[in-house]
């Protein structure tokens, strides 16, 4: 009897325990309103108006204030934002959006379809180079046939169009504030008015940006957080200290140096994730000026690729935060193809390629200009120099600051440099610009500055962009990737993995493929 009762007691206890744990688990999933989330904006954004500046920190802070029509999941699935529904005609020429109801700007004015039309047709066309290209190449008209409805009529199909409504590409701006003004000098840029879950309360330059909850936010009961602070801490070591001491709860990829990531990730009560960058998927590459001998010879570029151990680069220079890139299109981007020319690390093959091309390396001095974004890039330059010198070339590293770098790039005054590109989910949005011959424009950085020309590639990239069906697009892009890798239009090094580090108490921090740029209306703090 005693035994039984003990057993029963034990069982009852277990059931009770399970119930309590279940309750706790349930509690852990139920958002708790209130609280302050502390983050870091690094470097300090010049302005918060996302339509005029699309730098990382601007999007990070501005993404809480401004919103776009759509957003994208971690698998690049298209998700609603200011548009609650959308429809694409069968011919791929008409895109209809239905907007959310009851959305208000931070100044209390109603958000309407007219704001979207103004943003697409006027504001971004003038102020946003990426949208201008899309609008002038593909968009015939933007109209609002009825309240809450917006229709984009295209001149020709554009397979990436549904991916062009991410925050950095299409932030919706208020017509009543910007219409008829000089956008850049409009005083409203200092007091941003958006539709997002948080409003600007105070910006003490050099110290912090303080956002507070938008009580009139269009999602009922959200956001959960009361306040956001974005601290300005210019020194990387001090930023690591700030996290360690609990002054900030979140570190965004790049906030601290790679070696600090490892250390901070091991602290108690700390979580890390590399999710939330799928839309951007930055790919790092070595840009070789194809106008200059001997880099004009494809076998020399192939030799360079074989001389670089990309596993080594990821592991030792970038602390394992990435993976070797095999194609111009990142593995997380639409239409990534595996059927490409591969360049395993092989010095003997590299030397053989140079011999085959009849190039005498000792006769050439190559200038290598590191991207001026910090010490890791300098180390990458040192590694690349060492490897290329093993082929017999002389390499001189030329240090510059960001202004000098973009000038040299614009004027094509370089032999080799590094860069990385955001992909924006689709090759037509973030990839093609580096290979289209129409994008060889002196005086502009970040295009086809290496001077790569191949009419067949132009044709394929444009065919992929204009394809109506995904199958046709995939076919064209696969072929383009094959040619580009074979000709080493750029020397793809690796896919960057940015790590978000946060305290365990911060819930729902990364929910979409734009990560921390997403409106933090779902984020909450466990007690």
């Amino acid at each position: 009897m005693k035994k039984i009762s003990r057993l029963a007691l034990g069982l009852a206890g277990l059931v009770g325990l399970a119930a309590i744990t279940g309750l706790e688990a349930e509690e852990a999933k139920t958002p708790v309103p209130g609280g302050t989330l502390n983050m870091i904006a690094q470097p300090e954004p010049p302005i918060l108006m996302v339509g005029l500046n699309t730098q990382g920190p601007t999007l990070y802070v501005g993404g809480q204030i401004y919103q776009s029509l759509l957003t994208y999941g971690t698998g690049l699935e298209v998700l609603p934002s200011l548009a609650k529904a959308w429809d694409v005609s069968e011919d791929g020429l008409t895109y209809s959006f239905t907007l959310q109801d009851g959305v208000k700007w931070h100044d209390g004015q109603p958000f309407t379809a007219e704001d979207v039309v103004f943003t697409a047709d006027k504001f971004l066309r003038e102020a946003h180079p990426r949208w201008r290209y899309i609008a002038s190449t593909y968009v015939e008209s933007v109209t609002s046939p009825a309240p809450g409805k917006v229709i984009f009529q295209l001149k020709k199909p554009f397979s990436a169009f549904l991916y062009a409504f991410e925050l950095s590409s299409f932030p919706v701006v208020p017509k009543h504030i910007y219409e008829g003004t000089d956008y850049r000098t409009n005083p409203a840029n200092q007091t941003p008015v958006g539709t997002g879950p948080f409003k600007l309360e105070e910006w003490k330059r050099g110290s912090y940006i303080h956002l507070v909850k938008n009580e009139d936010y269009w999602k009922p009961g959200q956001p959960y957080l009361d306040e956001l602070y974005f601290r300005i801490i210019p020194d990387a070591a001090s930023r690591a200290v700030a996290f360690e001491k609990g002054a900030v709860d979140v570190l965004r990829g790049g906030d601290v140096e790679g070696f600090a990531v490892r250390r901070l990730a091991k602290l108690d009560g700390v979580e890390t994730t590399t999710a939330g960058w799928e839309m951007y998927s930055p790919v790092v590459f070595l840009q070789m000026n194809t106008r200059k001998a001997p880099l004009d010879e494809k076998r020399v570029r192939q030799a360079v690729m074989h001389a670089l151990d990309r596993e080594f680069i990821v592991k030792n220079v970038f602390f394992g935060l990435g993976k070797p890139a095999t194609s111009p299109v990142a593995s997380t981007t639409r239409f990534h193809s595996q059927d490409v020319a591969a360049y395993p690390f092989d010095m003997a093959k590299a030397k053989a390629l140079l011999d085959e091309a009849g190039v005498k390396p000792a006769e050439h001095t190559l200038r290598l200009m590191p991207i001026p974004y910090g010490s890791q890039w300098d180390r990458l330059a040192e590694y690349v120099k060492q490897q290329i010198e093993q082929l017999g070339f002389k390499v001189s590293i030329q240090g510059v600051d960001p202004g000098g770098w973009s000038q040299a790039l614009s004027e094509w005054d370089f032999d080799m440099t590094f860069n990385f590109t955001y992909q924006y989910g689709d090759p037509a949005l973030g990839v093609a610009r580096h290979y289209l011959s129409a994008n060889i424009i002196k005086g502009t950085p970040f295009g086809n500055n290496q001077g790569y020309v191949n009419p067949k590639v132009d044709e394929l990239l444009l065919a992929g962009a204009s394809a109506v069906s995904a199958e046709d697009a995939a076919k064209a892009y696969a072929e383009a990737q094959k040619i580009l890798t074979e000709e080493v239009a750029l020397g793809w090094l690796y896919e960057m993995h940015n790590v978000t580090i946060s305290r365990e108490k911060v819930k729902n921090l990364v929910t979409t493929g734009i990560g921390l740029n997403e409106a933090m209306d779902e984020v909450w703090l466990a007690k």
Partner: protein, 325 residues
């Protein structure tokens, strides 16, 4: 009257110095490769030629350089420091927001280093050859030779992380919204590490300088006379030696004011101090010409003013200077 004449002359000279600084900086800045339009186009990720041309026209960068210089000088003379391309705000507003933090930091560091440096220098001279002298001079040598950023990092490591005595960064507790005395105390608390870090190098400098100067004066005849008259040693040091010995330290300190601003860039970076030094550094990287020129102009004006005040102080400390005209 003589002092007023002197002041007027010095003010005119100061104005020319500041003007010269502005013109020189304007030309130097434009020698550097790249311009704000190119940098901003880079940040847009896909700057096309139309975008860049549009920005250049808006910023007036499509005009000839001499014309840009004249336009700038004209607006400066009318009290307008221009408009920041990147921050979309008037430069004067940007600078005025940040200047107080730098003035607070540099003035604290200046006072800290001068007072402590002179005290230690006097002590070392007074105890010449003794243990105290050796200790002080070794310390001075160490801090004179150690780079500022290293001192800053070590200070954070020891006093903020290990001992948890002092805040590692910021000018005040963010989000605390203190007012009155509580705010004053909060800022003072945050000021300790940056001040000491920035001030240590200069403390070392003034210690060495004061000691050397003291020893030189102590070997002069009038000191021997005083001693022979039986004046107590402490009184000789205080009344006779220090007053003479401190003059070169003063001269040096006023010259060092400019260097202090340079050191502030680093200190402000490590301690996230929201001052003008960091503003200058960011503006330099982004080629934000109007902000850069504005900061140079204001810092030049501050340095020139400090020198002017030092000159006036001299005449009080050492009346011989006024007599000599």
């Amino acid at each position: 009257m003589k002092t007023l004449d002197f002041l007027f002359q010095r003010l005119v000279k100061a104005a020319f110095v500041v003007l010269g600084v502005v013109i020189l900086n304007f030309l130097l800045i434009h020698l550097a490769p790249g311009d704000p339009a190119a940098v901003m186009a880079g940040e847009a990720g896909a700057g096309d030629e139309k975008f860049i041309a549009q920005l250049r026209a808006q910023f007036g960068l499509d005009q000839p350089l001499w014309w840009q210089l004249l336009t700038y000088l004209k607006s400066v003379l009318t009290g307008d420091l221009g408009f920041s391309y990147r921050n979309n705000v008037p430069v004067a507003a940007l600078i005025m927001e940040r200047l107080p933090a730098t003035l607070l930091l540099t003035a604290s560091a200046f006072l800290f280093s001068l007072v402590l440096g002179v005290l230690l220098g006097v002590l070392a001279a007074y105890k010449r050859g003794k243990l105290a002298d050796s200790l002080i001079m070794t310390g001075a040598l160490v801090f004179y030779a150690t780079p500022l950023f290293w001192v800053a990092l070590m200070a954070v490591l020891v006093f903020s992380i290990h001992l948890d005595w002092l805040p590692p960064f910021d000018m005040e507790s963010i989000g605390a919204d203190y007012t009155g005395w509580a705010r004053f105390a909060d800022i003072a608390y945050h000021l300790v590490l940056p001040t000491v870090t920035l001030g240590l190098f200069f403390t070392a400098l003034y210690t060495r300088l004061t000691r050397a100067s003291m020893l030189e004066v102590m070997s002069l005849d009038f000191v021997k006379t005083a001693r022979a008259k039986g004046v107590p040693k402490a009184r000789i040091i205080r009344r006779h030696v220090l007053r003479n010995a401190v003059l070169p330290v003063f001269t040096f300190a006023s010259i060092q004011a400019g260097q202090l601003v340079g050191g502030a860039v680093l200190t402000e970076t490590v301690f996230a101090w929201p001052g003008i030094g960091r503003l200058m550094f960011d503006a330099l990287l982004q080629r934000d010409y109007p902000v850069l020129l504005g900061v140079f102009l204001v810092t030049a004006a501050v340095v020139v003013t400090v020198n002017l005040v030092a000159d006036l102080l001299y005449r009080i400390v050492d009346p011989r200077i006024e007599a000599a005209g």
